[in-house]
């Protein structure tokens, strides 16, 4: 009996097929099978948000999704934010506003911020802080991240 299940899905706009064991998380598949290592493992139990991806329009912790669950789904990872060689405004604003230090939580914050701005293009500071509360950053104290998201919202409105 086969121990792996074939899964067809769309990742960053491209059709992708992979084989995975039922126990493998989406995070594990992304990182170890598909070599999309932008999503990070910080806790592997949904506490830190470093592995955030957008699944059918919703920001989720990919460590809490099974690989087999993304059959037919649309997944966006940090690797899918930039358009060819042009950074997404959120990425550009994180750079300009120094919204990262060690950078390990950054992919998760960028993806969570994109999910937020897709839904609420002009969020208040409170909305930004609330929507990013599932992502932990231990380096920055959050201020520069919040300001970068506000900045990105302005850029995207142009």
């Amino acid at each position: 009996m086969a121990t792996k299940t074939p899964v067809s899905t769309t990742i960053n706009g491209e059709p992708v097929e992979f084989l995975c064991e039922p126990r493998q998380s989406l995070l594990e598949v992304l990182r170890d099978t598909l070599h999309l290592t932008g999503a990070k493992e910080g806790c592997n139990n949904g506490n830190c948000g470093a592995c955030t991806v957008i699944l059918n329009g919703v920001a989720v912790d990919s460590c809490l999704v099974l690989g087999v669950e993304v059959e037919g789904a649309e997944v966006t990872t940090v690797e899918g934010l930039a358009c060819r060689n042009e950074l997404h405004p959120i990425q550009q604003c994180f750079l300009e506003d120094a919204a990262l230090q060690c950078g390990i939580c950054t992919p998760g914050f960028l993806v969570a911020a994109k999910a937020l701005l897709d839904k609420i293009p002009n969020p208040t500071e409170e909305q930004i802080r609330f929507h990013l509360a599932g992502n932990i950053c231990r380096c920055t104290g959050y201020d520069k991240i919040v300001k970068a998201v506000q900045h990105a919202a302005q850029e995207m409105a142009k």
């Binding site: 910080g42 806790c43 830190c48 750079l95 390990i104 960028l110």
Partner: protein, 758 residues
């Protein structure tokens, strides 16, 4: 954010500007290679079996069943690593006893904390490795555990290390086995005489819980032990050379047989200096003949690495009616954790470091107990100490009826002040931070509403110098490749490159910084001690001077004049009749004798200490005990600021860690010494909704002993928050808190106790 002294930096072209960091694009696109992103052909996945007991003898370990599980390639325990004698190895920022390091990596006869590594497996994937761990049979003989520092000092305490000898000052009543690893006594003047002169004396006792550095990236290491005997390690480490040395010593290899490649690192804060899994990955690779990656899970990180000490501190301070401090006495007991750790040392240095005390005595103890061996955490030892000293300072100011900042100004350490541990300060900026804080609109802003209060607090960190090396290659297009050994945790590629650029008169973007492995650059100590921008930046400055010297000689050759006739100013080489920019001359170096490489290795002296003064407004919910931070201003002497954005970021991040320490974070232990909250959800570090904007105010009192006046920024901002928040809570509800964290249950209990006492 303007710095308080912007005009002084204006003569610089690069320093004080905010270029985009060189590694930025890699880090926002997910391309940067962190430790767990390393992939090698045939890679195996390693996992570590850890003790379920806080204290136990190991009777036996049977790995037979695990070895037979399909997909398992190697199983190791302490039988696979030769024991070490008690011998110290230098780590740069501190040193390590190899016997203890070895036993911490893999427990030998005893386990000394829950989470102590016992055995490890390498398998085809992580799931199989975890299944194999369950098949390892360890027979334990559980012993009594002790996790509170004062209990561990008692005569009848369970003894962790039978042959432990107390180092340092003799103990008056030492007899037989002990958990006291180190005893420190500093004194200055005559405290009895000092206290006799005092009009007001206040003495208080303080407890603080164990807290973790809390980096988001778990420890991870990949090792490949080649058949030719060469060991390669890809690590998440604050110091590649420190990692190399510890691993080489533990495995009895010459350092030349070990190459450590520092990957991008997802935070460290002092917790990624000691090796834990690097030697395990190496041994698993040796046994399996394959590369092996060992990754910790989050519970492993909490239970087996870090943390920083829990502590008990008694502080007594005496002052004259006019507000002059006359004497101070501190008694401090810090957790060492399972093995001697020595965080008490800096704790003792820091406790009275903000004040000019004519008479002082500090006594400290490093105490072994059944917790993970403690490690540095951002100004290690200073935050516990500042909470105690600053709270007593607040109470004295209140009793004397003096404004708390004014009281501190009357007693603030300045150039020439001698600390109780001996050294006298060079130029320092505590007074400047106090004056800036006092003049800041936050300090005079109205704070209305019930259960709201404002507090202030100061903090100190000594900063480190240590060794750094760089080489810098001039490229034909006028750029310079800067090769360095300092792991970049928060933008130091850029802050170092900016100092090279400033010296050469080129832009930050014209420098290409590369952090390389231990075979590709000279010895460099850890990224820690707030030393990287200071010391590696100094090396970059010196390498640039070396380049200027060599290029001036080339220009002289080209112009057929004496090198003495060539001058260099802001990127322009000139003689009486000629001039070439750095870029123009760089374009000619291949035709005038070939490549130019600047080099520098520094052992940086002249470290400039850093001080901060913080102001915080809080609101206490009297029903739940929850403390909300309403406003926070952090004034800090940063010395010369190289990259303001990243200096601000250090302050903001440090403050939020300090807020977490003050209000929420703690290791919760059960009666058997097991941590009960070893997940991020239960340990509960601050999130974006828990804190407001932290406003950094940077005062620049340049360090006169550094080429660009750098002091180091990263550590001190974590020190003031607990005391400042404690003062704010007192001003909000009239209750002094003497225990960290000041979490809702503790604040609630204090409110209930106060009400029942009335």
């Amino acid at each position: 954010m303007a710095t308080a002294n912007e005009t002084k930096t204006s003569s610089y072209r690069v320093i004080g500007t905010r270029p985009i960091r060189h590694d930025g694009v890699d880090k926002v696109t997910g391309r940067a290679v962190y430790g767990n992103d390393v992939q090698l052909p045939g890679l195996l996945y390693g996992r570590v079996l850890r003790s379920p007991h806080a204290h136990a003898r190991i009777r036996s370990i049977d790995t037979t069943k695990a070895e037979k599980l399909p997909g398992v390639f190697a199983v190791i325990s302490s039988a696979d690593i030769d024991p070490h004698e008690s011998k110290m190895a230098e780590l740069g920022e501190g040193s390590v006893n190899l016997q203890y390091l070895c036993e911490n990596v893999l427990a030998r006869k005893k386990v000394l904390y829950k989470g102590h590594a016992v055995a490890a497996v390498a398998a085809v994937n992580a799931h199989v490795a975890e299944e194999a761990l369950k098949l390892i049979e360890v027979d334990y003989d559980p012993l009594h555990a002790v996790t509170w520092v004062l209990d561990a000092m008692k005569d009848d305490a369970p003894i962790l290390i039978d042959d432990l000898k107390t180092e340092g000052a003799p103990l008056p009543h030492s007899k037989g086995p002990t958990n006291i690893a180190q005893h420190i006594v500093f004194s200055k003047g005559d405290i009895e005489k000092g206290f006799a002169e005092a009009d007001v004396i206040i003495e208080r006792e303080f407890k603080s819980a164990t807290v973790h550095q809390g980096y988001i990236e778990p420890h991870v290491a990949t090792a490949l032990w080649s058949p030719d005997g060469h060991l390669s390690i890809w690590a998440s480490t604050q110091g590649s050379f420190t990692c190399r040395q510890q691993t080489a010593e533990l495995l009895a290899l010459p350092v030349s047989k070990v190459t450590v490649t520092p990957c991008e690192i997802g935070g460290g804060f002092g917790g990624k200096i000691r090796v834990y899994i690097e030697p395990i990955a190496a041994l698993l690779s040796k046994k399996s003949g394959r590369p092996v990656k060992v990754l910790m899970n989050r519970a492993d990180v909490f239970e087996s690495t870090g943390p920083t000490p829990g502590s008990f501190i008694r502080v007594k301070l005496g002052a004259k009616r006019d507000g002059r401090l006359v004497a101070g006495d501190a008694w401090m007991a810090y957790d060492a954790g399972a093995y001697p750790a020595g965080i008490i040392g800096p704790g003792c240095v820091c406790v009275f470091s903000c004040y000019d005390l004519p008479n002082a005595r500090v006594e400290g103890f490093d105490v072994v107990l059944n917790k993970p061996q403690t490690a540095a955490y951002r100004a290690p030892g200073s935050t516990n100490a500042a909470f105690a000293c600053e709270t007593v300072i607040e109470e004295l100011a209140e009793k004397l009826g003096i404004d708390p900042i004014e009281f501190r100004l009357k007693n603030a350490a300045k150039e020439g002040t001698r600390r109780p541990d001996g050294p006298a300060y060079p130029v320092i900026g505590l007074v400047e931070t106090l004056k800036t804080a006092k003049a800041h609109p936050h300090y005079s802003a109205t704070l209305e509403g019930p259960n709201r209060g404002r507090g202030v607090g100061c903090g100190f960190w000594m900063n480190a110098g240590l060794k750094s090396s760089v080489t810098a290659h001039v490229n034909g297009d006028g750029t310079v490749t800067l090769v360095e050994g300092s792991t970049d945790i928060g933008g130091t590629r850029t802050s170092i490159a900016m100092q090279l650029a400033e010296t050469l008169g080129i832009t930050a973007e014209e420098v290409v910084p590369r952090v390389v492995d231990t075979d590709s650059v000279g010895y460099t100590d850890v990224t820690g001690g707030s030393r990287t921008t200071f010391a590696t930046g100094w090396a970059a400055h010196d390498a640039a001077i070396d380049i200027v010297k060599q290029m001036s000689a080339r220009a002289a050759e080209f112009w057929k004049c004496s090198p003495d006739e060539v001058t260099f100013d802001r990127g322009l080489f000139s003689s009486k009749s000629h001039a070439l920019t750095f870029k123009e001359l760089a374009g000619k170096i291949q035709e005038t004798g070939g490549t130019i490489t600047g080099r520098a290795s520094v052992e940086a002296k002249g470290v400039g200490a850093t001080f901060g003064t913080h102001i915080v407004d809080v609101e206490v919910d009297p029903e739940t005990g929850k403390v909300k931070i309403l406003r926070y201003t952090a004034v800090q002497d940063c010395g010369r600021v190289i990259h303001p954005s990243y200096a601000e970021g250090q302050i903001q991040g440090g403050v939020v860690q300090g807020i977490g320490w003050a209000l929420n974070e703690e290791y919760v232990y059960d009666a058997d010494g097991r941590m009960r909250n070893a997940s991020m959800l239960d340990y509960r570090m601050p999130t974006a909704v828990d804190v407001p904007t932290i406003e950094p105010v940077m005062v620049e009192v340049p360090n006169p002993r550094h080429p660009y006046g750098v002091r180091g920024v990263g550590e001190v901002p974590i020190c003031p928050p607990p005391a400042a928040i404690g003062a704010a809570i007192y001003n909000a509800i009239g209750i002094r808190m003497y225990e960290l964290p000041m979490s809702p249950p503790k604040v609630c209990q204090a409110i209930i106790n106060e009400a029942s006492a009335k």
